[in-house]
Amino acid sequence: MPAIETRALRKVYPAPAAPKRKRGAAGAGAATAAVPRAEIVALKGLDLDVHDGEFFGLLGPNGAGKTTTIGILTTRVKPTSGTAVVGGADVASQSVQVRQRIGVVPQRPNPDRSLNVIENLTFHAAYFGIPLSASQPRANQLLEQLGISDKAYAKVDEMSGGQQQRLMIARALIHEPQVIFLDEPTVGLDPQTRLSLWEILRHLHGEGRTIVMTTHYMEEADKLCDRIAIVDRGELLELDTPAALKQRAPGGTLVEMSLSGDARPLVEPVRSLEGVLRVETQGPLLRVFSDRGGRVISPVIQTAEEHGLSVANISLTEPSLETLFVSRTGRKLD
């Protein structure tokens, strides 16, 4: 039995109320009034299988549908259609059973600030029917394991952002869930704290837990996950191990140039240059995949200038998840 299974999972949010107000505003043109209220399609039929004990990454830019997916899988968002099963229970019809089997680390720490650190854990355990006699030692052990045991009786507000994020991880673990969800757990953390969080996550994975993490950091997904789903605009683009995904990345180094005008006229002449594997354009953006690294840069610039275009910016990216992502979505992650 897979830990998570989604089929044709779809989520459509109703249009925000904003256009309505615009319509009423004085001077709103007829054009505004004629625009139908567009719904927001956050997920367009997602099929995912996460295996038991797997460290699974959902990778995508902001607005890709990652948080909506996590919201549905953690029973906090109702799917518009399709099914999602977590730990053998359906998120829509058996939400109570799903909640019993999951632990959630939110995007932004949301500890109960009216309680102290250890109370945050023991009360959360109590919401799962665990008596204080069992939760207290477990809470202490988790705080110890996460390196915040000296804060056990502190107010939550006395903790740093990184410490609060660890408290969130402890809270997600206190009731021994089958599946742990982490939504962008390292956003806003300094590099050192991020590394130590990675250690913690690796350790949890080593204990055999199923972990589902969203991130928009390529490196994070690459280093931690067994498998990665690349999502964008509510759709699954790729799903595989990091190694397989990297192999699937278009060969060579990605050279990206912003030009002073439309890059399309350059496609043919640049493609014929030595060392160029593939050329893509997007407005004034020219993407060249090269098997000779940065050595294609100077002939490409020369070609551009011959076409009356100047180069404003150049960037180089080694073949990676990033180059795969760019070639699949036409945009960068950050």
Binding site: R99, V104, N110, F123
Partner: protein, 267 residues
């Protein structure tokens, strides 16, 4: 797989409910002084001005205090029941998102809302119980004040606190956080002043239009109910009428509050 994969035993909803309630009691105990000052200051000031100063100056008759005290208790009860649910809801759903850890508890979302309403009821009762002895001390002996109708009193207090705690749930989840100030000036203040708390409903015989207009105000029924239970000699609305009205109001606010909470909790 290890023990982690073992299916967890089902958790009893009642034990989760009690844990949620214990959390709210713990937090309320920590903040008891602030809570009492916040919710009982206004009624106590009324007690001093209308229950002590005005009678001393002979602007109002002695009998006024008898009519005033049950009204003051009704205000304390309802105001604190509303606030102790509405304010945390506005904060939790508006920006802190602190309630998320409770929304992940393995019980139905409605039960989590119900617990909040019960916690609000408790705080309403505590506020009224705190105001009573102080009011009695400030006003001196109140003629005709009696505790002999315990059954009626308990029923009115339960129904009234449930109605207003549910109203607090509805307001707290339906109103945008930026408009919480508006809630006090547009909803709470008129409710207090036209709620027959500071004057008995039968006194409005003098202004018949008002007498019937104020009937849309839920405060009227708890104030009149308190009068019927605590100072039965003051002319008041018949208790069965009050009872039916409070059951109706509590049911309506309860379902509105539940629905609105659910809408905020589940996207």
């Amino acid at each position: 797989m290890t023990a982690i994969a073992a299916l967890p035993h089902p958790v009893r909803a009642s034990s989760v409910f009690l844990a949620l309630l214990r959390r709210d009691v713990r937090v309320a105990r920590k903040e008891l002084a602030f809570f009492l000052v916040r919710t009982t200051m206004q009624p106590l000031l009324f007690v001093i001005v209308f229950g002590y100063l005005l009678p001393k100056m002979n602007f109002v008759g002695r009998g006024y205090q008898t009519a005033l005290l049950p009204g003051i208790l009704a205000v304390s009860l309802s105001l604190s029941a509303i606030q102790s649910v509405a304010l945390p809801m506005v904060q939790d759903f508006g920006w802190t998102k602190e309630i998320e850890d409770r929304l992940l508890a393995p019980v139905s979302t409605q039960l989590i809302a119900a617990e909040k309403i019960v916690a609000g009821m408790l705080q309403g009762v505590i506020a009224a119980a705190f105001v009573l002895p102080i009011a009695r001390l400030v006003m001196g002996p109140i003629s005709g004040f009696t505790f002999s109708h315990v059954g009626e009193l308990v029923a009115i207090v339960l129904l009234g606190s449930m109605a207003f705690s549910s109203l607090g749930m509805w307001l707290g989840t339906a109103i945008a956080p930026q408009q919480i100030g508006l809630m006090f000036s547009v909803i709470i203040a008129p409710m207090l002043f036209f709620g027959c708390a500071y004057y008995p409903w039968r006194g409005l015989d003098a202004v018949p239009v008002m007498k019937y207009l104020v009937l849309v105000n839920p405060m009227v029924y708890i104030a009149e109910g308190m009068r019927g239970a605590l100072t039965p000699n003051v002319p008041h609305m018949p208790l069965p009428v009050v009872g039916v009205a409070l059951v109706l109001i509590a049911t309506i606010f309860w379902s509105l509050g539940m629905r609105s909470f659910y809408k905020r909790a589940i996207g």
